[in-house]
């Protein structure tokens, strides 16, 4: 039986009135509580060295794939975006699918770590973590999964250690051609932005500056997001995810001064990773040296790492088994939230599983 347009309108109005009441009730709950986020899966810290934290996750399957996976988080944010909430955790999903997971996470660098350089991450933290995993698992090879700047570090590591112990390399929204950043290139123009002054004065790159620059990419989106939150206050799932992601975004980390200076000068301004002129530990980084199977998952609506910045990475790596997938979503919704659960997580599992035996 087809309802008349009038009956549909009345139904719609009734639904909106019910939602308006729920908004008032839940709005009060929202204002009088704090958001919860991060670290739902059981894990053990197996190595801590200043800013570096290596975790091992407890298996959730009785039988796991042979090759362990090391997730490498971006240095700008904590890794709990991978393990956000129960049933909204990429780590939990991968554990249930039978993968053996390790995570390289970062905390704010200490004052003594302001001199950390790219070399410390790429020739120190990552290879040391891999050695620990090799020793723990008795496996020679490890798969690397890097997110954003974690992807850049993983790519540099893989290029400098080829063929090395890398079984597979998967990257999410990893920038490569830094000349295509648009507004960020303008703001980081060395004629106006003095990276030396920032690092020499502060010793680190403050998270507030990073968050402000991300906000300036979409200046009104915080207002829109607040209105959308009010509109969806009746929806518990929406509110839970939004609060968790907001908390994660507010937990942005400072960056070690020398690491930031080197990244800005050699990778962003000189575009050295793209041009093949970047040197780390005195060695030139050529992504063509990467031979391990390679997956790059990029987001269609990523305003932080636009597609033009990420696009050429898959063309330039030397792997014969390589793939790029462009998925619906933005920079964060690619890895966390309802869109990621439907799209990126199953893709990562399906890509890694046959390559992990």
């Amino acid at each position: 039986m087809n309802a008349t347009p009038e009956a549909l309108q009345i139904d719609r109005l009734r639904q909106e009135v019910a939602r308006a009441i729920q908004r008032n009730v839940k709005g009060w709950e929202y204002l009088t509580s704090v958001g919860k986020a991060g670290g739902v899966s059981k894990r053990t810290l197996i190595e801590k060295r200043g800013t570096m934290n290596l975790y091992r996750y407890d298996a959730l399957a009785t039988e796991v794939y042979r090759t362990p996976i090391l997730f490498v988080m971006a240095t700008s944010n904590p890794a709990y975006v991978f393990d956000l909430l129960p049933d909204q955790s990429l780590i939990e999903f991968m554990l249930k699918r039978g993968h053996d997971i390790y995570l390289l996470d970062w905390t704010a660098p200490t004052a003594g770590e302001r001199t950390l350089r790219l070399e410390d991450y790429v020739l120190g933290f990552i290879p040391d973590s891999i050695r620990i995993i090799q020793d723990e698992t008795d496996e020679d090879q490890v798969s690397l999964v890097g997110y954003c700047m974690g992807g850049v570090l993983s790519v540099i590591y893989a290029a400098l250690h080829s063929p090395g112990p890398i079984r597979n390399l998967a990257c999410f929204t990893t920038p490569f051609n830094f000349s295509q950043f648009g507004a960020w290139n303008q703001w980081a123009d060395p004629r106006y932005f003095d990276v030396d002054q920032v690092v020499d004065t502060l010793g680190y790159f403050p998270p507030e500056m990073f968050v402000a620059s991300v906000d300036m990419l979409r200046p009104v989106s915080r207002v829109t997001a607040t209105l959308q939150l009010w509109d969806n206050l009746w929806n518990d799932e929406f509110v839970k995810t939004k609060r968790a992601l907001d908390k994660w975004s507010a937990d942005t980390l400072p960056l070690a001064g020398e690491y930031f200076r080197q990244t800005m000068k050699d990778i962003v301004i000189d575009n050295g990773l793209y041009h093949g002129t970047l040197k780390v530990g005195g060695r030139r980084v050529d992504v063509g040296e990467i031979k391990a199977p390679f997956l790059h998952a990029v987001a269609e609506h990523d305003h932080i790492v636009p597609y033009a910045v990420a696009r050429e990475l898959v063309e330039r790596v030397g792997s014969t088994d390589k793939e790029e997938v462009v998925l619906k979503g933005g920079h964060v919704s690619l890895v966390a939230g309802p869109s990621a659960i439907k799209r990126m997580w199953p893709k990562l599992d399906q890509w890694l599983a046959p390559r992990s035996i």
Partner: protein
């Protein structure tokens, strides 16, 4: 959109989305200009200069008062961390935490993908 015709709430949501897109486009045209970058960075440079001068003055005052600076406290914290790490390394692991026990407790590494004889 046709099915939303006459639905005030759907129209409001659509307008909000359009406003977000248009307002962001308009404002990023301003923030993406060279003059914006020049002025913002000039303001930041001035702020950093003031901060550097203030830091220097505070450091001198602390020396005059014979009090430790933030850098001194950070160095001490670093040394304490280093001692803690050494103490941790000296501690014998619990029987369940030895490398052999941990390896024995982990699941076998024989899983196959669903299409190749493994379970989903």
């Amino acid at each position: 959109m046709a099915k939303d015709a006459g639905d005030f709430f759907a129209i409001w949501r659509s307008l909000l989305q359009q406003w977000d897109t248009k307002a962001n486009e308009t404002l990023t045209k301003v923030t993406g200009q060279e003059s914006f970058s020049r002025e913002v960075n000039r303001a930041m440079a001035l702020n950093l200069q003031m901060q550097a001068a203030f830091n220097e003055a505070v450091d001198k005052a602390l020396v005059a008062l014979n009090m430790p600076s933030r850098a001194d406290v950070a160095r001490l914290a670093e040394q304490l961390n280093s001692i803690e790490r050494k103490l941790d390394a000296l501690k014998a692991p619990a029987p369940s935490e030895t490398p052999a026990a941990r390896k024995a407790a982990r699941p076998s590494r024989t899983r196959k993908p669903p299409g190749e004889g493994g379970s989903s």
